[in-house]
Symmetry: C2
């Protein structure tokens, strides 16, 4: 895990630097909307989706750090989704990663625009990725749009919103998470493999890994809401119980959820059987989910 | 103008058909978010941006109707911007084109998601445009992202939002409109010319036309708010005066604004001097702005 920590720190630093350059501070008329965008972009995110993209590129023998534009685009899309999710009309959250949410600082209207701005700029940034054959870049960005859109992340959020006050059954819960969180993880891993010229079988293997990774991520997220420390997560724990939300823990008990998470992690690693040491980061990353505290 | 009317009706019908197919009705979990997206997408828009794209492609000797994916993407981006602009945290409008606004029908949270969904799906749709060299398509969609993003449409909206309760001066007003409305017109016309393989000088001429078109559009929009009929516009007139908003009419008087609009229309036509009859639709379109009643 020492290697994993160093890898993540190094890649996150690359992403931070690139984002700083790609979403620059602005003077004049545009100062406020860029300030609002940058507030959430630099609020301490772990850069997990960019790291997954880079680790997938590395796993197929490429250089993950060559694809920073697409990696940063994923982080911008993830950040916009958090800003909009936190809005009063959605989850109505006041804190995120220990800091006031975007609309609490900039107001609701500007927070909506900051999200819109990040989402739109993400596509401009991704489509500016140098060093990739145009046809490949088109395909990758199209997949990311699909994963982030109404049949993916936005759709999952809509299912979540519509479920307010109701309790989702296991099938609906799985669908909602797969769309809301899983689809973008999947797009990140596939993007890394496709950009770096992975073979069809490598892309398929990483897709299978991605699906189990997403599942393990969500189950451990639900577990953290029960067992985690408020200080480390940066937001109140126990909110799922208070909101009577269906979770893997409420449906399968804490022990059942832990078992399911271990199972998903094993299956994710099995999907990597065809890879050598170049996929060790991906193996460590998914194992890490079982021990994470934030 | 007879020719213009027939052209617009024919192209709008093509766009409607394509949108119907590209943003299909959904059953199951995704039914509501797609219904919300389609509600605003099929609420009687004039399809002006897709028509401008197609007319520009026709003007450089191409076939505008070949580029329906990109044309529809523009309309989806325009529609998302209307949904978000109407939200309570923004303009707080109850009616649009004579129908209740999206959030009045589907609630605020779902309206935010419908906008997010349309914006994201717009990129998926545009990046699926067949029959175009990938490098050209990348460049065109990147330009559209830039025009719609925080340095374009979203930025203009942010300037508008920040100006609430203040009165913008002439320079700020021009900047705001250029970003909020002009940038996407410009992207539409350039997209048509670039997709259809227009020469550099043709693209530059259509860019100059676009800038004057955008100016004429905004000035006549401000005039309509004073002289228009509520029934035809589909929303209350006089709202700019009630909200003490700076407009071309408040800054330059009704007569002054009319003069400026005629001037912009003349300059737009002058930009087309190098084109023959294949640009007649563009000439008629900008002239039409002087007589429009909605």
């Amino acid at each position: 895990m020492q290697m994993l920590k160093a890898y993540c720190q190094q890649k996150a630093a690359l992403v931070d630097e690139a984002l700083f350059r790609l979403v620059p501070r602005q003077a004049g008329y545009l100062a406020t909307v860029y300030e609002a965008m940058r507030y959430s972009l630099f609020a301490g995110g772990k850069r997990l989706r960019p790291i997954l993209l880079m680790a997938a590129a590395d796993a197929v023998g490429g250089r993950g750090s060559h694809y920073l534009h697409v990696a940063c685009g994923l982080e911008m899309i993830h950040t916009y989704s958090l800003i909009h999710d936190d809005l009063p009309a959605m989850d109505n959250d006041d804190f995120r990663r220990g800091k006031p949410t975007n609309h609490r600082v900039f107001g609701e209207g500007m927070a909506i625009l900051a999200g819109d701005g990040l989402l739109t700029a993400a596509f401009e940034v991704m489509l500016s990725q140098p060093g990739v054959e145009p046809g490949v870049l088109l395909k990758v960005v199209r997949e990311i749009a699909q994963a982030a859109g109404p049949a993916g992340m936005v759709g999952g959020q809509a299912v979540d919103l519509a479920a307010e006050g109701k309790v989702l059954d296991a099938a609906a819960l799985k669908y909602m998470h797969q769309a809301k969180t899983g689809a973008l993880f999947r797009a990140a891993l596939r993007a890394g493999a496709l950009l770096a010229g992975g073979s069809n079988s490598q892309v398929e293997a990483l897709t299978a890994y991605a699906e189990q990774f997403g599942l393990a991520f969500q189950i451990t997220d639900d577990i953290l809401d029960v067992t985690g420390s408020e200080e480390k997560i940066g937001k109140p724990v126990g909110s799922d119980i208070r909101n009577a939300k269906a979770t893997y823990v409420s449906l399968y008990s804490l022990e059942g959820a832990r078992h399911m998470a271990r199972e998903a992690v094993e299956q994710a690693k099995t999907a990597l059987d065809g890879f050598g040491a170049e996929a060790d980061i991906l193996r460590d990353l998914v194992s890490y989910l079982l021990t994470r505290d934030s």
